[in-house]
Every structure is written in C-alpha cells, then in structure tokens.
C-alpha cells in the first residue's frame, strides 16, 4: 500500500520537470492535468482500500532518504488513509476541472510545473511517519502553493497576497518545527513511532498543544491566524483555489489531529478550551467577514475559515470528552469533525470550481458586476446551487449531517466534569448555531446576487456555459454531496477505523440500522434519516405538482415583472451584494467591524448624486497584525544603526556577546 502510494507520488513529482519541458506545447495542460487526474484517482482508490481495511501486510516502509541516521519513514494508518482519500478526491476533481479551465490560462508555464508538485507534497505530508519528512513535505507544500498564488504575477494584489502568505507559512512551519523539537526532546527521536511511545511531561505536552494549534491553525486559517487565507486563496487560479481551500486546510487539520490526538498522548482537561474558543471564534468571524465581501472567491475563502472553525469546535469537543474518559462521546465528536472535513472538501471544491467557471465566462469576481447567470450558465448555476445548499447546512444535503452530529455531541457535554467547560460549551453551541444561520444568509447572498436577478454588467450579459470537463467535475462533486447527504450512515461507518485509532472507540455501525437512519446514541434520543427526508420531500413536492397541474391549472403567462407597479427601472435598481448585507452589517458589523455608513446628500436644488460610503475595519488586522508590523518596522529602524559602527565598537560588541554567553552557560543549571 505505502509503496504503491509512494510510487504514485513519485509519478506526480516526475510530472513537474516534464511540465517544464512541455510547457510551450498547446497540449501541455491536457497532458499534465490528465496525468494528475489519473494518479490522484489511483491514490484515492489506494486510500479507500486502506481505509476499508483491505490494506496489504506492509503498511510502513523506511527509505534511505532525508537525515542519514533517521531515514524517511512512511506509513499508512486509518487516519492518514482517510485524509489521503479527502485530498486525492479533491485533487482528482480539481484536475478534471482544470482539463477544461486550464485552457483559459495565459501563462500555463507558471502553473503546470507547480501543480503536480503541490499535489505530491500534500500526499507526502500524510504519508510521512517521521518529523523530518513531515516538515520537508509541509514546506514544499507551502512553497509550491505560494508559487501558484503568485502565478498571475502582474496583479500587484496577488504579489502582496503571496508575500503575506509566505510570511505566515514561515511562521506556521516554525511553530511546527518547535512542536516536533519538543516532542523529539522528550523521546529522543524524530520517528513518530518513538514519539508516540514516549510520554512528555505535562508542561511540555501543553506547550506542544499551543504550538501545534499555532502551526497547524495558521495553515488551516483559524482566527486570528487567518489573515493570509482570504488574500492567497482567491489569488491563485480557481482550480488551485479549490485545492487550497478544499484540500490544503484539511492537511493542516490532519497535522493537528496527528500531533495532538496521536503523538502527544492523553490530553489534559483544559486542552479543549483554547481549541473550542478559537474554533467558535473562527466559525462566527469567518462567516461575518464572508458576508461583508464583494469578491466571489474571497467570500468562499472566508467561508472556509468558518468551516474550519466548525471542524475545530468538534475536535475540541472530542478532546474534552477524551480527557474525561467519555470515549463514545469522543468518538461521536471526532466523527462529526472528520465528516465535516470530508463534506467541506466536497462542497468547497465545487463552489470554487463554480466561481472559476463564472470567472472564465465573465472575467469578473466582483459580485456587483454579476447577475442573471442562471439563464446563461444554467448547469453551472444548478451545481453551484447544490453546493450552496450543502454548505449552508440544510437537509437533505451533506453539510447538515456533520453539523447535526456536532450539535448532538454538544448535547452530551453537560456530563463533562469540569466547570469551565460546562460554562463554555453552551456558548460555543450558540456561536455555532449563529454561524450556521449566517452561512445560509451568506450563500443566499452569493447565489442570489451572482446567479439570479438581471445582469449588472455587459460581461455578465455575454456569459456562456462552461466546458464539459469543468461541468463533469462539478457534477461529480455535487453528486457526492447529495449521496453523502442522504446516505450518511455509510460514510460514518467508513470513519469507524479512524476514530478507533484515535480515541479507542467508534460510533456503533450505522449501516445496519433499518431504513438507513443515523442514530448517534439511541433512537429514543436522536435520529436522522436523510434518505427518507429526501424521499418525503420529493414525493410531496411531486404529488402537489401532479395534483395541481391535473386538477387546477397548469397554464403560464409571461409578462413584465410586477414590482408593485413601478415601471421597469433597469438592473441598477436591483438589490446589490452590499445592500443585501446591510441589515446584517448593521446588526453585527457595527460592533465587530466598527462599520459606519455615511450618507452625503447634495444640497437642496443641486442635481449632484447622493453618495453612501460604508467603512469597515478589520479588527484582527488592526489589533494584531498592524502593531506587530509597526513594531518590526520600528525595531528595524533602531537596529539599523548597528550597520554603521566602527571596527572598535564591533569588536567590543563581539566581546560583550561572548562574555554574556559564557555567563549564561555558567549560570545554566
């Protein structure tokens, strides 16, 4: 299994130089994306087999690479198999989409070599079983995605996004480096096997948790470490945005689970609190930011932050339950987290592909310039609608199932012994409910403004349906969203080996329950049946349609819109993205974003237009990043004088430093 997976990765790596060689050819993108599609599909099948327990005997392999005394360890267990499946399904869908979308690329040579390398690096992160290979792969993943972010380098905004991304990726890797350093210091080796066997002291373990939360959290986009994400994800070409948002954030979640649940050992009771707090903050802040954006892809990027928040809330609950030895509840919470990881990878890929199709058809990402696309791109609109419904956590699609499981896990938490958690979990639950409701508002806005109504620009009027490859990728993802929504039991059962590995127990088998319901604990307590909900809805809708058309009336007349009798006033009078968000901006934004609306009326008698200016401030940027960057600028200014000293002063500085270091050595216990 591992060998097969590694050979696939090798093929992906080999595609990178090949892409450089053939980049000028007109068929280069078909060759590279086609090969990526095949390889990622193979990897997904390997991962699925490994997850379902058909793995061959050899699941671990050590290659003579990397550190000479360590070698490179690779291993597939249930956890990495699940995440491999998520990543390679997403990778396959993005590659299929790119087969069509890639033709719009002006400079394919800036994307083609990095794309397979990026996919390969993400796979290696999951396969790695020692800290060195993990970190090297992690860094290659960051750098490859950075190269993809600045692929359209003529746009200065993309360069800024790349710069911020590079800084934050460096910060994240540094934190992970320290994490593994601490773990290795306790165990004496960088090999995961040895680290797992050792038991770090409570202080070291706590430090590892914090560092892992910072390191993996910055890659996943947890608030307040998210600043790079809404800049970088939209800047990349759309299929890469899909990978970054739908897939790479999942690699970060994997890193967090691997370190905190697997490597460190038994959690302390308070570990869940920072995870829950950051998760809940990300969930609400992410979706509120998303509601304020006008850029279609940026909305989607912020919504990724929201979904990562939901995943981390579920992970925090799992930590809390595990620390209190409530294994079955921990299994429920962890299943919810993993299922949401899977679901989010599906619908976020789908939505980013849809945004890519819109971008290719109109050249616009600005919601205020779109509109009416449901008439010109009916198929894209249909699949985008499925994705929007799924991400809004509405039954009978898949997003609802994982949120429902998270709520069920929250309902088990009054049994937690710690008082801090007893007070915290209800608040987290309320924030989660708030984020779910706001997500629905956010996607009503996105779909309603971009696809419904009348076109707001010439580009939107001239849009046309996207190509077959892109459409088939989106249809495949939409179908998976649907299946995962109506048959969640199958997917929950597939997660059982992962939860058994991580928390020692799994939810009881769901596919054996009659009518394919899902029952987390007991039927008298809670159950949900997506299949029946769908069948009932379809039946009652169809019966209503049939009866009404048969017995009452089925005639339709077309006429101008009613609009309360006002004559047709042109598409500019429609609600816009900003005006749709205005009530929510007024309710939530005045507090969080210090949103101010300033209306300027012309003096009486003047025919000048009135103006409405809205100002929003980003609290995280204002309170965290701006002071840090100001401090660095200040310190740089001050330290600059050190560049212009005389040789005497330099020598005395060297001497002072030497004395200081010797003193430290002497005093150090």
């Amino acid at each position: 299994m591992v060998v097969a997976a590694l050979s696939c990765v090798l093929v992906l790596l080999a595609l990178a130089p090949l892409a450089i060689a053939v980049r000028a050819s007109s068929r280069a993108s078909i060759l590279i994306y086609g090969a990526c599609l095949l390889v990622t599909l193979t990897l997904a099948i390997i991962a699925l087999l490994a997850l379902l327990g058909h793995a061959g005997p050899a699941t671990a392999v050590t290659l003579p690479l990397g550190l000479p005394w360590l070698g490179a360890h690779f291993r597939i267990d249930a956890l990495s198999a699940f995440f491999l499946l998520v990543i390679d399904l997403g990778g396959a869908a993005a590659s299929l989409f790119a087969l069509g979308y890639g033709r719009h690329e002006e400079e394919p040579g800036r994307i083609l070599p990095f794309y397979p390398a990026y996919l390969a690096a993400m796979n290696v992160v999951l396969l790695a079983a020692d800290a060195f290979s993990f970190l090297v792969a992690w860094e290659v993943m960051s750098l490859a995605s950075w190269a993809l972010v600045i692929a359209h380098h003529r746009d200065s905004e993309n360069l800024r996004a790349g710069y911020v991304y590079l800084l934050m990726a460096g910060f994240g890797t540094l934190m992970l480096l320290l994490t593994f350093g601490l773990l290795a210091a306790g165990s004496g080796s960088y090999d995961f096997e040895t680290i797992r066997a050792a038991h770090p002291t409570a202080g070291a373990a706590a430090l590892v948790l914090i560092l892992a939360l910072l390191g993996a959290g910055s890659k996943a986009g947890l608030v307040p470490l998210h600043a790079w994400l809404p800049l970088a994800h939209p800047a990349a070409p759309s299929h890469v945005s899909a990978l970054m948002s739908g897939v790479m954030t999942k690699v970060a979640v994997y890193g967090f689970i691997r370190i905190v649940f697997d490597l460190v050992g038994a959690p302390a009771w308070w570990w869940s609190m920072p995870v829950l707090a950051l998760g809940a903050a990300s969930a609400v802040m992410g979706v509120l930011y998303a509601l304020m954006q006008r850029d279609l892809k940026r909305v989607l990027a912020y919504s990724t932050i929201e979904n990562i928040g939901i995943v981390f809330v579920a992970l925090g609950l799992a930590l809390a339950f595990e620390a209190s030895a409530m294994e079955s509840a921990a299994a429920l919470a962890l299943t919810a987290a993993l299922l949401h990881v899977f679901n989010h990878s599906l619908f976020k890929n789908l939505l980013f592909c849809g945004a890519g199709a819109v971008l290719a058809a109109t050249g616009e990402r600005d919601l205020e310039k779109l509109g009416g696309l449901i008439h010109r791109m009916p198929q894209t609109a249909f699949v985008f609608l499925i994705g929007a419904t799924a991400i809004s956590a509405l039954p009978p699609l898949n997003g609802f199932v994982s949120e429902w499981l998270t709520f069920q896990a929250i309902l088990l938490s009054p049994q937690l012994p710690s008082w801090g958690l007893k007070l915290m979990v209800p608040a987290v639950g309320a924030l989660l409910a708030l984020s779910a409701a706001l997500a629905a508002a956010c996607f009503i806005r996105v779909f309603g403004i971009a696809f419904l109504g009348r076109p707001r620009s010439a580009a939107a009027t001239a849009a046309h349906e996207t190509d077959t490859n892109s459409l088939s990728a989106m249809y495949a993802l939409a179908a998976l969203c649907f299946v995962a929504g109506i048959l969640p039991g199958l997917f929950i059962d597939a997660l059982a080996p992962v939860t058994r590995l991580i928390v020692g127990q799994s939810m009881h088998a769901q596919s054996a329950i009659e009518w394919l319901s899902i029952v987390p604990i007991a039927e008298s307590r809670s159950s949900y049946n997506g299949l029946l909900v769908f069948v009932f809805m379809a039946m009652s809708g169809l019966i209503a349609a049939f009866i009404i058309h048969r017995l009452a009336s089925d005639r339709i007349r077309r006429g101008p819109a009613w609009g309360c009798g006002y004559p047709d006033a042109g598409p500019r009078t429609q609600y816009s993205a900003d005006s749709f968000a205005q009530p929510i901006r007024r309710v939530f934004g005045t507090l969080i974003f210090s949103a101010r609306e300033n209306g300027e009326m012309p003096p009486p008698g003047s025919v000048a237009p009135a103006r409405l200016t809205v100002t929003l401030r980003d609290p995280v940027w204002d309170w965290l990043y701006a002071p840090i960057s100001a401090f660095i600028a200040y310190a740089g200014e001050k330290l600059n004088t050190l560049q212009f000293l005389t040789i005497r002063r330099y020598l005395s500085l060297v001497f002072a430093a030497l004395v200081l270091l010797l003193l430290v050595l002497a005093i150090w216990p």
Binding site: P395, F407, Y528, N529, L532, V533, I548, G563
Partner: protein, 318 residues
Amino acid sequence: MAVIADFAFQGAQMLLVLLLAPLLTGFVRKVKARLLRRQGPPLTQPYRDLIRLLRKDVVLADNASWLFRVVPYLVFAATWVAASLVPTFRSGLMFSWTADLIAIISLLGSARFFLALAGMDVGTAFGGIGSSREAMIASLAEPAMLMIVFAIALIAGSTQLSTMAAFMNSPEVGLRVSLGLGLIALVIVAIAENARIPVDNPATHLELTMVHEAMVLEYSGRHLALIELSAMLKLLLYMSLIACLFAPWGIGGAGAGAGLLLIGVGAYVAKLAGGGFLLAVFETSIAKMRVFRVPEFLVAALMLALLATLLRFVSRSF
C-alpha cells in the same frame, strides 16, 4: 396489519395538518376581526382563497428562471414534511424518527433558503429587500430556536419530539426555570418565524414595511397558493410544537386505542384554537416594530434560550 395501521396514522397526520392549517389561519383572522369589532371573513375564507388562486393562471415575470417555478413546490414540500413530523394527536408515529427537532428546524431553514432565493430571482428591488431582511431575521431566530431546542433537549434527554412530548407529559418535569425561559423564547421565535406582528405584518399593504410579503411579491396563481399554504402550515407547525412541548396533555402514546385517539384529536384542535386566540389577542394589542428593533427582540430570545441552556449545564435541577 400493524404496519398498515402505522401507515394510516402517519397519512392521517399528514392530511390533518394540511387540512387544519388554512382553518387555523382563518380562525386567527376571524378573532382579530371580532376584536376590532368587525364582522371578518368566514372561517372558510382561506380555503376559498387557495382554491381561487389554484385555478388562476400563473403570470411569470419575463426573466424568471426555472428556480422561480420550482421553489413553491420545494418550500411546500419541506414545510409539509416538517409539519407532519411534529406530534399532533398521537406520538411515536411510524416515521417520527426520520427527523428530530433539530432536523425539523433545519427543514424549515431549507424552505426559507429557497424562498429567499426566489425573492431575488426576478431582480426587483422589493424582492431583494424582502430576502435581505428575511435573512437578517433568520440569522437571529434560527440560533435562538436551536438554543431552545438545546435547553429542552437537555431536560428531556432527547431531541426526538416523541420522546420529548412523553417526558413533558410525565410527572418528573415539574416547574423549572429553564422551561419557563424556553417557552418565552420559543414564543418570540415563533412570532418572528411566522412573520406576525410585531415583527412583520401578514396583512400589510405598504411595501416598504413588508418582509415576507415583499419576498413573494412576484408570485401569482398556483405558485402563490402553495406559498400561502406553506405559510399557514408553518403557523400550524409552531403552534403544534409549542403545544407538544409545553402542553402535551392528550397526545396519545404509541399504543393508544380509538378512544384515546379521539381525545387526542379533540385536545389538539382545542389547543390550536387556544393558541390561535392568544395570537389574535396579542396581535391586536401590540404595534408593529421598526425593522431594526426586530434584532433586539430576537436577541432577547437568543439570550433567554442561552440562559436556559446554561442553567441546565450548571445544575440538573433548574
């Protein structure tokens, strides 16, 4: 045989809610009219309105898309399924485990999602204003509703409505602070969700004050009939929900005989009448709020529900 009976009960409940919903709306209108010393339309007026609308042609706006034509059926289906999953005269129905209370609330969320989209489909300013305000109200009402569900689920130990109703009917409930807070919050949410005064006015003719009515402004004929019927079903659903959770007396258990079932139906109709009367009295005695006072109203519900949940987390006896 038992399976057939089970199916029959489930079918009976689906038909019952569908048939009673217009009557309830007619009753509320009638009581309101009487309280204003008007004669008011007869109780059967909503049925006549629906039939009249069903027979009329649909006038579609020129640029209405397929979504606009599908949404009425979707909204109706989601609301009807949700309404028939709330226990009315008998609990533990055949498919009662299909969706628990969280799922029922989310089904209504699906209905609202599509209705709000339909409001934006034609591209008029009124549709947009309705959708945008509906989204704002929902963004506060839904979390409040979920917290109410949490509070009650923590008392009853279940999110399954049948189990919850059975628990509420048992003597172990007693008087609890959290239940009281939950009831107040649930009433506020129900008023907001059903677009009643003081949040919205179902009988308004002034476009700028409308929320729900502005959203469905472009609908006509059978589409409008379905949307009106869904709104009536939703009102019935919330009344049944409040009755099932806070006045579960008379709901027959899973093995109830014919006599108990008759009592169940009678009690249910009586509860609806009582609820409708209270709603009418409340609506006539209060004025509509400004749109931006609504969030404060709803945040109060959210806070009450959160408090109720917190109390449950702190101690089992509240």
